[in-house]
Every structure is written in C-alpha cells, then in structure tokens.
C-alpha cells in the first residue's frame, strides 16, 4: 500500500480537544512514508491553537507511545497524548 495518501483521524483529549473544538482531527498520511513527527506538524498546521502544546505531546499509535521517526501505514489508531496529567 506504500504511496497511498489517505486521511487519518488523530484523536484529541482534554484541553487539546477543547482547543480543536473536536475529539479528533484528520491529517493526511502517505502509507509507508509519513512519520509520527510529520503527523504532529500537520496537526499544528490544521489547528494552529495546538502549536504551543505540541512540544509537550507525543503521538500514540495503536495505544502505545511511538517514536517520532516511525513511519505509518495509515490504518493505525492515532491519538495525541498531551501532557496534562491526572491525580
């Protein structure tokens, strides 16, 4: 499937969901090419209000924190984990 571009939803939570006004934001992923770091960049382009908090956020891929250099296929479950903890 390498080379296919598709829109993938990135789930958002907490304050970041409030800023985006939505529980998810779609970004384009090119299968086998787009990295997690690029997804974060595209999130910031799609919702500039997220930019200040992206530095303290990581992308979760299929419910595990992923390396910024990981390349995506486009069929994974993506979530933005912003660091505003519980307790």
């Amino acid at each position: 499937m390498s080379g296919d571009a598709r829109a993938c939803d990135v789930r958002l939570f907490g304050r970041q969901a409030e800023i985006a006004g939505a529980g998810s934001v779609a970004v384009e992923v090119v299968a086998g090419s787009t990295t997690c770091a690029e997804v974060l960049t595209r999130l910031g382009e799609a919702v500039p209000g997220l930019l200040p908090s992206l530095e303290a956020s990581v992308l979760a891929v299929d419910h595990a924190v992923a390396s910024p250099t990981r390349r995506l296929e486009g069929d994974e479950e993506l979530a933005l984990i912003g660091l505003v903890g519980g307790g």
Binding site: G14, R15, A60, G85, G87
Partner: protein
C-alpha cells in the same frame, strides 16, 4: 516479582477498607488525591477526568512495574477516576508496600510525578457559576 494492581473507576473512588497486608512488608503508604474547592482562584464544582483505554491502564501498569523494580517494592496499587469527580471527592489513590519507609516514599512520589507527565489521563475543571472575589 511485585504485585501491580491498576483500576480505573467511573466517578469518584469509594471509601476504601484499609488496604490488606502484603507478606514481609514493613511499610504501607497510601496517597489519596481529593478534588480541591478552587483552581486558579476560581470556585470549582468538579473535575472531569478522561482516560484513553486500554492505553491508560497499560501505561499505569508499566509505570507501576518500573517503580516496583526501581525501588524494590513488594506491591503497588493504583486507582484513578474517570468522568466527573465533585469537590471533596477522591479521584486518585496510590498504595505502595515496601520493606521500609524510605523506598516507599521515593516510589510514591516518583510514580505521581511520572503519571502526571506521561500517562494518558486528562482533567478539565468544571467551574461553579459564581466566581471568587479577587
């Protein structure tokens, strides 16, 4: 191998019985986090907690295992609310069992710092209608 128990609970944590004994543990330390009445000088009604399961439970379990290994704990138990928790109610409880006090305190403190920095848990304030005078 230490025991690690993790539980996410919908709504406030119920009053708990005193935690049981773990064989050989000389120190049992329990931290409870209670929703305070104000945030940023504004009156609060509640906090809303959100998790992202199963990632949240997996992270809490992994963190518990790491703390148990690093600090030589015998057992660790994590309970955290999701959803609405009103002022005065308990949203978080962490219990650690260790041979001695010092490693229990270090593990408890480090767990909470790490949880706030790394774990997929979010809270949002629900402010009361009336604001506090400046």
């Amino acid at each position: 191998m230490a025991e690690v128990w993790v539980e996410l609970v919908d709504g406030p944590l119920a009053e708990a019985d005193e935690p049981g004994d773990v064989a050989g543990a000389g120190a049992r330390l329990c931290f409870a986090g209670v929703v305070r009445p104000t945030e940023d000088d504004r009156l609060l009604d509640a906090l809303m907690y959100e998790a992202y399961e199963p990632m949240t439970s997996r992270q809490l379990t992994a963190l518990g295992e790491e703390m148990a290994s690093t600090h030589g704990l015998m057992a660790i138990r994590v309970e955290h609310s999701t959803g609405r928790v009103a002022v005065g109610q308990t949203s978080f409880r962490l219990t650690v069992w260790s041979a001695h006090r010092k490693e229990g305190i270090a593990a408890l403190d480090a767990f909470i710092d790490r949880m706030k920095a790394e774990v997929a848990l979010w809270k949002r304030p629900v402010f009361a209608a009336t604001e506090v005078e400046a």
